[in-house]
């Protein structure tokens, strides 16, 4: 399927518009079949805009093959500002929630709310929050060990195989919590989310995802 392409930084993202001001943020590192299924669900159920984050087919890979939650967040902010052009609700799964929270803190004027879905059942980064955030050290040793030998060729599914090892750098948890504390948009969670303790209690509200039909 040909999807519209949009360039952010030096990476092309595949973006599919939706009828509502809702953007679905998938769990990074999630296998393609699982990702497509979740994004299809987001399109059909909530009328969401969907996109594949950098490194995930059919979007392009990052030159240098470094993927951090903050890189994904910068892409999301640019998508919200430059493509959608209107304030949106972010629906995010697993570690996509970390991406959404960082984007909402960086661009509070274009995020109307956050709905975070737990990543417990996902095979992506969100299945193990220690892969994406850490109190002190921020290197992901698995990435460092893999980067030397990981083939530069695409895996058969088109994703960058380095994504399987998690982000190159974990986010510094105190900095993430400080960012989350600056959130101005209401947030809700379903099924629990590892970011819940970081999120400001005053902004907790029912962020309903009204089905499109």
């Amino acid at each position: 399927m040909n999807q519209p392409r949009w360039t952010t930084g030096r990476v092309q993202l595949a973006v599919t518009p939706g009828p509502r001001a809702v953007v679905a943020v998938h769990d990074p590192g999630i296998p393609p079949d699982e990702r497509r299924q979740w994004l299809s669900h987001a399109q059909e159920s909530w009328g969401a805009w969907v996109y594949a984050q950098r490194g995930h087919a059919p979007s392009g890979w990052a030159a240098g093959r470094v993927y951090r939650a903050s890189d994904f967040a910068i892409d999301l902010v640019r998508l919200l500002r430059n493509v959608l052009g209107q304030p949106c609700l972010l629906v995010a799964a697993g570690a996509g929630g970390l991406v959404a929270v960082l984007a909402a803190a960086a661009a509070p004027d274009v995020v109307t709310g956050l709905h975070l879905l737990g990543g417990d059942n996902s095979s992506g980064w969100g299945a193990d929050p220690t892969r994406v955030m850490s109190e002190d050290g921020v290197l992901n040793r698995s990435w460092l060990d893999a980067v030397e030998s990981a083939s530069a060729a695409a895996s058969c599914d088109g994703d960058d195989p380095l994504l399987r090892y998690g982000p190159a750098e974990k986010m510094h948890q105190p900095a993430v919590c400080a960012a989350a504390a600056q959130l101005r948009a209401p947030w809700s969670v379903r099924g629990g989310h590892f970011l819940e303790p970081c999120l400001p209690a005053r902004m907790r509200a029912a962020v309903d995802l009204v089905p499109i039909r």
Partner: protein, 310 residues
């Protein structure tokens, strides 16, 4: 008469993360008894080690020096974004490649200046067996960074720069490049800057453009992207099993310390570290006092031509 610094005897490359990292080689890695891998400072390039290489080779013929240009610098490839540990991974990849080419029994050391020095110390914390010793050229305090709650501001700033990263200014001739660089580094001899200029820029549409990825320029530093605190080189030094030589410039007008020197006592108190303090040097110790740095490095490497640092 203008001094002539040695041009690299070979240029090679190592691929890391799909990026081609450019290397300058002086001496024969496969036969030298002492091999040094050099990591330059932020926004510099591999050729910045040429004056030190000349001073080293005047004292020691049995030496090979391989200097890398970090991603986004010099003749190396540009990445999409630049984090702290991707540079570390690149330095490790280069050092592994050099180690493989070195002869059995060769002593291998890592030497870095400023940003590159902290990367040297960082790399050895992950793979201490890659080198026998390390040299830190004037990186004695954590780099400047954002405030603890500054992550959203950093991300907003980067997002606002948009897809088309603004190009850096271009210049009409090499003299303008020399003047610009001299304004930032007033202690560096103009003759040396003239020699370095062709390595710092490339010709583009009849003008000269920096060989630096514009994504690296500006106030955001790589360590900001993960929200992590900047790395303290003295803590890294203390954590390493290697002997670490730290060479610092102590000139009163050292531009980087801005009147506040982090303290020689802090360096000297680190177990296993050795400190060479150069009263006539600023931040670029290896360019301002290459002979003294070469003597200290060779002494640290256990070479008879070296001197023990004072």
């Amino acid at each position: 008469m203008q001094p002539e610094w040695p041009v690299p005897q070979a240029r090679s490359a190592v691929v890391s993360r799909g990026l081609e990292l450019s290397l300058c080689e002086w001496g024969d890695v496969s036969s030298a008894g002492l091999v040094l891998v050099g990591a330059h400072g932020f926004l510099d390039c591999a050729e910045f080690f040429a004056p030190l290489v000349m001073a080293l080779h005047e004292r020691c013929a049995d030496l090979a020096f391989v200097a890398m240009s970090f991603a986004g610098h010099g003749r190396s490839s540009w990445a999409d974004t630049y984090g702290w540990y991707d540079h570390t991974a690149d330095l490790l990849a280069v050092t592994r490649a050099v180690r493989t080419r070195a002869r059995d029994g060769a002593r291998l050391g890592l030497i870095g200046h400023s940003f590159g020095a902290v990367q040297v110390l960082q790399a050895l914390t992950f793979e201490p067996r890659l080198a026998e010793f390390a040299v830190n050229l004037d990186a004695v305090s954590p780099p400047f960074s954002m405030q603890n709650d500054g992550l959203p501001e950093v991300l907003a700033h980067l997002a606002a720069r948009g897809g088309d990263i603004r190009p850096l200014p271009t210049y009409g001739d090499l003299d303008a490049i020399v003047q610009r660089r001299a304004a930032s580094n007033p202690r560096l001899p103009v003759t040396l800057l003239r020699w370095l200029a062709p390595h710092l820029v490339r010709e583009q549409d009849g003008r000269y453009a920096w060989r630096v990825d514009p994504a690296l320029a500006g106030w955001v530093r790589p360590w900001d992207l993960a929200g992590s605190p900047p790395v303290d080189p003295l803590e890294l030094t203390a954590a390493l099993p290697h002997p670490v030589l730290t060479v610092t410039g102590a000139a009163p007008d050292h531009p980087q310390v801005r009147g506040h020197y982090p303290g020689d006592a802090a360096i000297d108190s680190r177990p296993g570290s050795r400190h060479c303090r150069l009263p006539d040097a600023g931040h670029y110790v290896h360019l301002e006092c290459p002979d003294q740095v070469a003597a200290a490095v060779l002494g640290h490497a256990g070479h008879p031509a070296g001197e023990q640092p004072a």
